[in-house]
Structure formats: C-alpha cells, structure tokens
Amino acid sequence: MGIPEDKLLWMYDTMFKSRYYEETMERVYMEGKSPFNIGAGLVPGEMHLSTGQEPAAAGICAHLTDEDTVMSPHRPHHHAIAKGVDLKRMTAEIFGKESGLGKGKGGHMHLFDPAVKFSCSGIVAAGMPQAVGTALAAKKRKSDAVSVAFIGEGATNAGAFHEALNMAALWKLPFIVVVEDNNYGISVPKDVATSVETNDVRSSAYGIAGEKVTNNDPIAMYEASERTVERARAGEGPTIIEIETYRYLGHFQGDPELYREDGEVEALRKKDPIAGLKQYVIDQGFVTESELDEREDVIKSEVDQAYQFARGSEYPVSEAALEDVFV
C-alpha cells in the first residue's frame, strides 16, 4: 500500500467534512418547510445531497491542484468541498445571500469559484464538453493542468458524453471523466437505462483508458485516479473512471423514493466508506481515535462557521436581479 499518510488523512478529513456539511444541509434545508414545500424555507429550491458519494470526490481531488479544473453536475457539494471551494461563500450562495459565490443568482446547482477552477450546472452531461474545452486550453498553453468532469451513471447515455469523449480522445487531451454510479438516474436504475454493465468498457469505443472502482472504495479510487492523472499530465490522453458509489438519500430532498427496495439504504449505510477509512487509518497507526476526534472537531467548527456566515449574511437588494446579464 503506497498511499502517503498525509494524503490518506487529507482524504479522511475531506470526506468527513463533506459528510458533516451534507448532514447539516439536510437539516437546515427542512427549516421552514413543514409541511414540505420545495419553494419555502431558509434554503428553497431543489436540493441534491451527496451523502455516501464522498470517495469519488476525495479520491481524485487528492491528485489535483488549484490549476486543475473540476466541472460538476447538479449534485456538486462533495466535489466543491474536495476541490477547496470557499466554504463560506458557497454556503451563502446556497442560502441565496449577497455574499455568495454568485451573489445569490446561481444557487446550489450553479456554483462558480474560479479561484480553484470549480463550476457546476444543472444540465446532465453539460460539463463534459466544457471540461474538454478547458483541457484543450491547457494543451494549447502547454500547461500540465488536467480537467475532470464528474457525472452520474445516467449521464453516460447523453449525446454530450459521447461527443466529448471522442473529441478528447482524438486530440489526446488531459481530460478525465469520473462516472459516479449510484445506480439511479432519479428513479431509473442503471440496468433499465444503460446497455452495458459498466461504463469503463465504453473507453474501448474511443481508444482510451478505462478504470473501474468497486464498493465505493476511497483507496481504490485514489489509486485509479493516481494512474489516470499521471497519464493525463504526461500527454497520454483521457480516461473514464467509473466508481460504484452509494446515494443514501433521494435524488432530491423530498423525493418519496418509491423506486427503492425495502432495506436498500440501510444495507448501503452498513458499508459506509468513511467508517471504513477511519478504521483503516487507525489500524495503520497513522492516527489515534482521540487524535481523529480532535481533527473532526476542527472540521465541524469550520463547517458550522460557514453556515453561520450564510445565516448572518444579507439578501441581495431585489433590483440586483437586473445586473450581471452582460459584462
């Protein structure tokens, strides 16, 4: 096992932060929504939480710098946190506040933090061709930056996925797509929507590399990502990484989840990747349980402060709606 101690602990911290952030959001989102009304409360609109999907984000972002690009879809918080997006301004944006990343104009599906080259959008697979474009820019400018598009397994059936991969392969771009296979496109299971069992095999259609990570394993994700990012930085072209991951919650908060089997989520939660990684770093002797507790307290405090910042921030003045259409 060749993963450096500091990287493993960074992954643990990042996954823990992401989990704590989402669990806090799950509660905060319900404030003012009883009876449930999607447009009411402190945080209105759709809310897609990533609880359970942390390994995908932490495993690859461990290999990225601020110069590398990440484009994320409608479920973006774990990616944003792993990429180092400003937590206070991200939270303020989700609250619709003036101090938010987009001054309240974007919201939870439309977070833009150019300082760490992070963005996301609410249109399935839309980040694929755009991340090919940022990879193209890196190649033209002879930088060694890579571009990562995160998508769900459902997005692999969108035209943009295939068009983007062909172009990235054709031009040998430093482009990586991480397919987070949580088995559902909203309610539609993978085997009802996708003609192949795993999406890494689709790499052969483009003559590129494919990686498959099973069991939501953060260490395997780290290792697959290491090989992938090295290839991309060395000019050896794109890779599809598919990770089998778990969505503990609904597609969005308020989803009745009638498409789930009884006990499905409970079984997934028993295989929790954060608990697994915690045991691993303790067993390796990298850290004691009480040292981890202290680290967790520091992280919780940082997340709590981000939420406090968002709560305490002002709403934009309503006339600001008319600004920022053009430069």
Binding site: P44, K97, G122, I123, G185, A193
Partner: protein, 340 residues
C-alpha cells in the same frame, strides 16, 4: 345545488394523466416515453398511475437521452403511432432542439404534406420555487417562434385533460407545456387554481382557442397559465375599486386566437399582456403587434406588457420575486394605465 354535487375535483396532474389514459385505452398506437415516467409517474405527476394501468411496454422509462427520446418519437409518429414524449423540464430543450426544430416541426412541410408527425411533446414549465436559471423558465416563445408545431399551455385541470386529448388526436406535432405549480402537487405551493372540476368522460377542448376567464368592460388582461391566475386575482381587487377587467386565458400560443383578443380590446379599449417568459421577442411582443396592426385605433391607452425583464431567472428569493410578474404588479400596472 344539484350541479355542485356532480363536480369531480382533480388536480392538474391527475387531469392530464387521465386524458392520456383515456386515449391509451381506445388507441393502441398511443404510448409514453421519457425520463421517470414509469414508477415515479413523471417528476411533475404527468403520468401518475399510468405504469400500473398499461405496463412498461407502453409507459417507457428512458435513458437520459433527450435527442433519442424526441427523435424516436418522431420516427414512431411517422409510422403512424401517436407517441407522447416527455421532456422533463422545458429548460432541457437545448440538448434535443435539433430533433424538435429541424425535424419534428419541419418534416410535414418539407415532405410537401406527405409525411405526418402526430406526436405530443410534454414539458414542465415555470418558476417561483427558487429552482434558478436552468430549471425555472417557461420558454413559451422559444417554441412558439418555430413554425410547424402547435404549442399549447393550459391553465385549468379541465383544460389540461381536454387539451391533452385534443393534442393526442391532432395529426400535427403538439408541444404541450404544463405549469409545475398548476399540477397541484403536494410538495409545491398549494394553489386553489390547481384543483378543478374535471368530468369523468373523455372530452376535448380545442387547440387554438383562448378562453375568456373573466368578463369585463374596462381593460383586457391577457395571461397564460400562472399569469392568468395572477390576472384573475388582480381583477378581483380592481373590481373592488370599480374597474372591471376582462381576463383572457390564452391557452394556445400556436395557433394564436387573435379574434378573442381583438374582440376584447374593441370592447375595453385598453390592454395589458402578462407573460412568465422573457420580455423581448416574446408572447407579449407578438400580441402587442397583433393589436397594434389590427386594433390600434380602438385603444384609449398605449399597449402595456409585463414579463421577465430579459435576465436569466435568478435563484435568491427576493431576486426571483423582483423579475416574475405578480397579482400586485398587475393591479398596479392597470391602475397606472387607467389613471393616466
């Protein structure tokens, strides 16, 4: 009253689904395809209960492949079937607009009338629940601008059912835009207008006919979907002050019922057009142009229009409320018009 007892109240989504079900029962060529139309029953309830009734061969969950959803519906329609394809949010039109614009809308024309495309494209529209720039648009005009397809946007549960049946039976492609808030879903803002009387039997409401939702003599307010609801609310307030507004529920963008609008303007001599779509090059512009061309000298005051002021729909609540028309804004606009 006797008649009140007979009323059968349904939400918008149930009325729409019932219209689809009744056509499916009497015509094997009708089927539904789209994302989450099966077990989920449509994210906005448009196919609620249909999977249980008709099974997965006729209520088909699809991959997230909008070009293929719309394109395959076109192909099946040219074979004489009557597919209903769902585009979950109208905002997602971009990933399949070629199939819609260059094919669905043009095949009949380009073939010199020899190939028909009798399909329905259903899609959810509208905002005001803070879903931001990529999930809150109506895009009425984007679709209405393109020749070759009918574009309808019913408001009431009665019209949702009757116009759905008309849309399925129509030999033209019909874009059937249903408003999320008017579906009467339990997880959105409750709205009285989203529940209404819907007869059990199959019936049709014609496409291309506007409805005079409220008669009045002082000013015409043309609305569509939620803007009709707000116009009716504003009209109640105006009536308390002695101003009688006539409210026209447009229902169809294409064909556009010019006669109903012009007849109303010739009676009231004042008109306000209200839209939940963008202002410029939109429905308000089109109706204003029709009135200016054909009834200019019947007007006592300049035509007024109210719509999203040419900005993407912002996320934050005060920002969104600033750009979407409301009953209050309509009331004030009418007062301003008639006071001047």
């Amino acid at each position: 009253m006797e008649t009140a007892k007979k009323e059968r109240m349904l939400t918008g989504n149930k009325a729409m689904a019932e219209g689809i079900a009744q056509e499916m029962e009497q015509n094997d060529d009708v089927f539904v395809l789209g994302e989450d139309v099966g077990k989920y029953g449509g994210i906005f309830g448009s196919t609620e209960g249909l999977l249980d009734k008709f099974g997965p061969d006729r209520i088909m969950d699809t991959p997230i492949s909008e070009s293929a959803i719309v394109g395959s519906a076109i192909g099946a329609a040219t074979e004489g079937m009557r597919p209903i394809a769902e585009l979950m949010f109208t905002d997602f039109f971009g990933v399949c607009m070629d199939q819609i614009y260059n094919h669905m809308a043009k095949i009949h024309y380009m073939s010199g009338g020899n190939v028909k495309v009798p399909m329905v494209l259903t899609t959810a529209v509208g905002g005001e629940y803070n879903d931001a720039a990529q999930h809150s648009q109506t895009l009425y005009a984007t679709f209405a601008h393109l020749p070759g397809m009918k574009v309808v946007a019913p408001t009431t549960p009665y019209d949702l059912k009757g116009m759905m049946i008309s849309a399925i039976r129509d030999d033209n492609p019909v874009v059937f835009m249903f408003h999320k808030t008017l579906q009467g879903l339990g997880w959105m803002d409750p709205l009285e207008a989203s529940v209404g009387n819907v007869p059990e039997d199959a019936y049709t409401v014609p496409l291309g006919k506007a409805n005079v939702a409220r008669e009045g003599s002082d000013v015409t307010i043309v609305g569509i979907q939620m803007m009709t609801v707000y116009a009716l609310e504003a009209a109640e307030r105006l009536a308390e002050e002695g101003i009688e507004a006539e409210v026209i529920d447009l229902r169809s963008l294409v064909p556009l019922d010019k006669e109903t609008i012009l007849n109303s303007v010739r009676k009231t001599h004042n008109i306000l057009v209200v839209d939940e779509d963008y202002l410029s090059y939109g429905m308000t512009s089109e109706i204003s142009a029709v009135v200016a061309e054909e009834a200019l000298y019947d007007l006592d005051t300049p035509i007024k229009r109210m719509a999203i002021p040419d900005v993407p729909i912002p996320y934050s609540r005060p920002l969104e409320q600033h750009v979407v028309p409301s009953a209050e804004k309509i009331y004030k606009q009418v007062k301003d018009m008639l006071d001047s």
